[in-house]
Structures are given as C-alpha cells and as structure tokens.
Amino acid sequence: MVPVLFTILAFQLAGEAMSRTLDLPLPGPVVGLVLLLAAMRLRPGLAEWLRTAAQGVLAHLSLFFVPAGVGVIAHLSLLRDDGVALLLAIFGSTVLALVAGALAFTLVARWTGQEGGE
C-alpha cells in the first residue's frame, strides 16, 4: 500500500514541479495525470499494480470537493449583488454547453464512422 501511495504522490509532485518550471497553463495534478498515463502506456503492469488504490480513491472523488464547496457558503456575500444573474448565466450556459458538446461529438462520430460506444 505504501509504495502505491508513494507512486501516486510522486507523480503529483513531478507534475507540480513541471507545471511550475515550464510555466504550463495546467495545474500540477493534471500534469501528474498526463505523466502517469504516459508511464502506464510504457509499462502496462503499472496500471494493474495501482488499480485497487486508484479505483478506491476515484470512487470517492466527489467527497474531495466538499471543503471547497463549503467555501462557497462562506463567500455567499460575493454573490449577493449579482446572484440571480450569475446563477442564470451558470445554469443556462451549463445546459447549452452539455448539449453542444455531446451533439458535436455524436455528429462527428457519425460522419467519421465512429458511431456508438457500446
């Protein structure tokens, strides 16, 4: 268990270092993700070795957003003036973006003969 946790943290650490050093527009953990994915392509055994731990962490991914979410409540006063307009902008644009993204994917998949995931 410890070597697995060490490996996951080490990839994040490498990602943070790379993101800072190269001044990338991506945050450290996302760079760490890319590095780990590359490492898994080179050594498929790594994916199996990490599988149990990684699936355990991902099963609770939404839990990790709770502390930041509580921060929204703490900063609710920021939303007071423009709250309704901001909420409508978020609700409207999220629905539109979901539909646009999924439709564009489906249409291009049809044109290129990559139809149907299942």
């Binding site: 953990p29 930041a68 409540i73 900063h75 979901l98």
Partner: protein
C-alpha cells in the same frame, strides 16, 4: 476531568479532528440520502454535505478558516485523485484514440458555448467587466479557472465559487438532460460533462459509467488548456 461543555468545545475546536470528522460525516449523510432517494441526481451528495456543513458552521459561529484546518486533509486528496484519473483513461485508450475527431469537435463546441453563452447571459443582465472576467473560466477545474480569472482581471474568490456552483449544477443536470434527449453514447455524455462541469461532473460520470468517466477526464483536462486560450478572446467580445 472537565465537565464544563464550553471547555470541552473550546478544546475540540482547536484541533483539526472536529471539522475533519464533520466533513466525512456530512458526506456520508449526503451519500446515504442520495442512495435512499434511489440515486436521483438532484439529491447530489456534494450539495447535501455542503448545505449541512454550512448550517453547522453558521449555528456554531465557526469561520471558514477554522473549518478548513480540519477539512484541508480531505481537500488535499483532490490532487492525488486527479492523478488517479490516468487509470480509466488508460483502460479506455483504444476507444479514445478511435474517437479523436469527435473528441476535438465535442471539446471545441462545449468549451466555446460554455464561455460564450455564460458571458452573453451575464452581459444581458448588465453585469460589469470584473464579474464577466470572473465568470468566463467557470467550466474549468478550479486552480486553472482562478489563474485565468486573475489574468483577465476577475476576482479569484468569486471565480472559485462560480466554478463549484457550475460543477454541482452540471453533475445534477447531466443525467436527466441526456436521458430526456435520448443521447445514449457514453463517450459523448462523458466528454460533454467533463468539458462543461470539470471534476465534479467527472466524479458524477464515474459513478454512472466507467467509459463516461474516462471521456469526462479527458474533457476536463483538455478544456483546462482550451479555456486558457478561448476565454480572453471571447471576453473581448463583451467588454
């Protein structure tokens, strides 16, 4: 032994244990409610946990800094969890490669519409340039969104709040929306929710289907880069 509850409370509020326990307890409660409601997406466990904790903080008169001393251990795990998204992507690599063109199309459309329509609606309501700059990157993962908002002259704390509201709303609306539209391709559903609602949407996609989770992860990762490029250009149309 001290029997004075005020002293015990004062002691407990000094350490991180109390709010760490409360965070896990509130999430467990939210998750139990989510299951009890038959996994209806409006009973989002993050939303329930946030509301319960917000209420607890208000009732006990605790400020966010004190709360975060305990909650930071949970918050920290976001980083390692993001790294772990490499696993479902690795598992779905052949599928993602085969769908490279649809991914690019879905990403471009989702990202442009997310930024453009949010700014258009906010502009209609007459919101000022600083608020628009804070809103523009709300569909990307929080650290990237804050960086973009700072560069555009927005307010980082406002952006953080807007990012989270976007994520929770996206996670709640995605399943009923796509079911109503009859959209059954898990790849399209996943990519769209990762692009529009970053990590919280990705967490929701992982709960529903592993392929959707992998495509959501790629949508989230690529949209972080794309929004950094698109947001300043689209914002220029409105300010």
């Amino acid at each position: 032994m001290t029997a004075d509850p005020a002293l015990i409370w004062a002691y407990l509020t000094q350490g991180p244990l109390l709010w760490l326990t409360a965070t896990l307890g509130a999430y467990a409660l939210g998750d139990a409610a989510f299951r009890a409601m038959g996994r209806q997406s409006w009973a989002n466990p993050v939303l329930i946990a946030v509301l319960v904790l917000g209420l607890l903080l208000t009732v006990t008169g605790t400020d966010y800094a004190t709360y975060f001393e305990g909650a930071q251990f949970v918050h920290f795990l976001l980083g390692p969890a993001t790294v772990c998204l490499a696993l479902p992507m690795h598992d779905n690599m052949a599928r993602m490669r085969a769908a490279a063109l649809p991914i690019v199309a879905g990403l471009l459309a989702g990202s442009l519409v997310a930024v453009g329509s949010a700014l258009a609606i906010a502009h209609l309501f007459g919101l000022g340039p600083q608020v628009l700059a804070s809103l523009a990157p709300k569909s990307t993962t929080a650290p990237v969104a804050i960086g973009i908002a700072e560069r555009l002259g927005g307010l980082p704390t406002l952006t953080a709040a807007l990012v989270l509201i976007t994520g929770i709303f996206g996670a709640m609306v995605v399943t009923p929306l796509f079911d109503a539209l009859g959209l059954r391709d898990w790849r399209a559903r996943g990519l769209a929710v990762g692009t529009a609602a970053h990590g919280i949407g990705t967490a929701r996609a992982l709960q529903v289907n592993p392929t959707a989770g992998a495509f959501a992860g790629i949508g989230m990762g690529l949209n972080a880069v794309l929004t950094a490029i698109l947001a300043p250009l689209v914002l220029r149309l409105f300010v």
